[in-house]
Symmetry: C2
Subunit: 368 residues, 2 copies
Amino acid sequence: MSAAATTLPPLDLLSDVPTPALVVDMAKARANHRRAVASLGPGQRLRPHFKAHKCTALARMQLSEGADTICCQTTWEAVVLAGSGIRDIMVTNQVVDRAALDELAEAAKSAAVSALVDAPVQVAMLEETARRAGVRFGVLVEIDVGMKRCGVSVDSDALLELADAIAASDLLTFAGLQSYDGHNAGIADPARRKPAAMEALAKTRHAAERLRAHGVAVPMVAGCATAHLPFIGEMDAWTDIQAGSYLVMDQLYGAFPDLAYPPALFGLATVIHRSPERIVLDIGLKHIGVDNGHPAWVGETAAPLRFSDEHTTIAVAPESDIAVGDRTFLLPRHIDPTINLHPTLWLIDEDGVTPAPVDGRMGARGGA
Amino acid sequence: MSAAATTLPPLDLLSDVPTPALVVDMAKARANHRRAVASLGPGQRLRPHFKAHKCTALARMQLSEGADTICCQTTWEAVVLAGSGIRDIMVTNQVVDRAALDELAEAAKSAAVSALVDAPVQVAMLEETARRAGVRFGVLVEIDVGMKRCGVSVDSDALLELADAIAASDLLTFAGLQSYDGHNAGIADPARRKPAAMEALAKTRHAAERLRAHGVAVPMVAGCATAHLPFIGEMDAWTDIQAGSYLVMDQLYGAFPDLAYPPALFGLATVIHRSPERIVLDIGLKHIGVDNGHPAWVGETAAPLRFSDEHTTIAVAPESDIAVGDRTFLLPRHIDPTINLHPTLWLIDEDGVTPAPVDGRMGARGGA
């Protein structure tokens, strides 16, 4: 999906939105969500990943349209989700920091909350926190299926020992397995991505079978990403699909030929300078994440951008009539770190434009 | 200044700080500030750039120690600075968006506020805003001294015409010139950086002389960056030195051999995973800016980091005793986009550790 093929929101609807801003085309986001849900196989449910947008208004839309569970990456996100009335929250991370454990307990006071472990000390920390706060936690064991980040080996004794240690606690419930083959999610070519994902699937299935042979039920096997959606029905070892980017998409995933999810997130900027040969926008790397490359301009040229802290400089033709005060769009390359920079998403719907706080970002966590 | 040579804050002081976090060694920041002020030449004053840290607690320290004016990059920063009692604020940017113009007017109700122009339409916008809000603005003309971003040419008719248009308004005051040779600020080698800066200086002096020959007084000539501080006394065309990074520094500037300002900003993280061959930290590119490269680990190895949204993966030796729950530091490569990711800076002083809100970031601006 090239930038040129992207349908842009109508600028006249956005005249009251202060720039720089991020806007979401809700009709496209809803259509993307329905497409993702429709692609699931039997026994699978979507557990949308809140980390992608950290905005409870978008999470509520996802939960009202074919999803009833959610996952998130930080404990502050779990607190915000529980506060917004969501009742089944998985934190796809090990929780170790004392303040994070307290946040996990706070969320667990009003929601069923689960988290990951890959070491006995994390089980002990969760149990101690549950006892102190008077709550219970679900616990999943994370397995490493090739990403080499967190997780225990699928062939390790640790896998079985951790499940036993969780089951032995009266305050913890063994909720299943989690595996994330993030090393595959970045492969653009489906002919290479799918076989790699099938390998991760086989390792995940092997771990689940070892647990079952050990006499442990495995109610949930969580994993996958937006990159798995084109063949998610075949990923049958995974029950809970933690995709996030599919909702509003970005240029990174937009370049994957099999991912038919059009971008629904746009950076809105004002032209603050015009010279014969260039324009400068009031948006920069404090507003759009650059970890996977620069955003694309949807304007007149495909010239490379020069991106600085608070400015974007773009070469234009001398005869262009773009002027100081005009507004234009940039297409972010990676949505997660981009939305993380904004206090607000501006949601475009049939009723007009509504600001929605990005309330799950650390910026909303508060100081002390 | 290599990471290895950096003196780290004492971890035991920070046990109550939730991770991921940014901490500032205030003794080092104060020493850096005094060094910067001491390097100024006759007729020069430091106008510390608030955009670097966006934290009014740090700005108040800077203003109490040899600086009595400040500059900032966004109009929201100007609102926050005016609200904190600061009385002389320059916005080093063209202000075009309607909401931004309103914020500039809000700041001007309690402070002397100036902003940049490089086109007649911006003068008209400032005048219309001043009339509507019942305030006055100082206005500087930005000149392009080689960066090719904003600004008019030093030889242009536009330079004189803009000064005349500003002077003709009863609500605007011509405050002077601004030039920013940001293209020179990134040159690490002082033997190349200084001659390049001297060229920008000559262009700036030429523009000021043209205005004076035209009969216009030029009270202020603003510009420069931390990279100019080693020879700032020789940059005699500039009266207002808008350096920012010098205060807490980063690895980018720390590699410049003539910049003897030790880093005072540290990313604090918790180890959440340990395998024989690696650790994973609870800090990632949602907490540390990567536009100029990855942060450095101050731990046992110089192995490259693997940096993802919320994790840092670091190779360690199997015999290392670093364990889940330990805490460690990363050194950011570029401070501005890093601090912009955090709601709070944790200031370490002789009295202990105090949280200070990063109140000038867009995250604090609010939604609608």
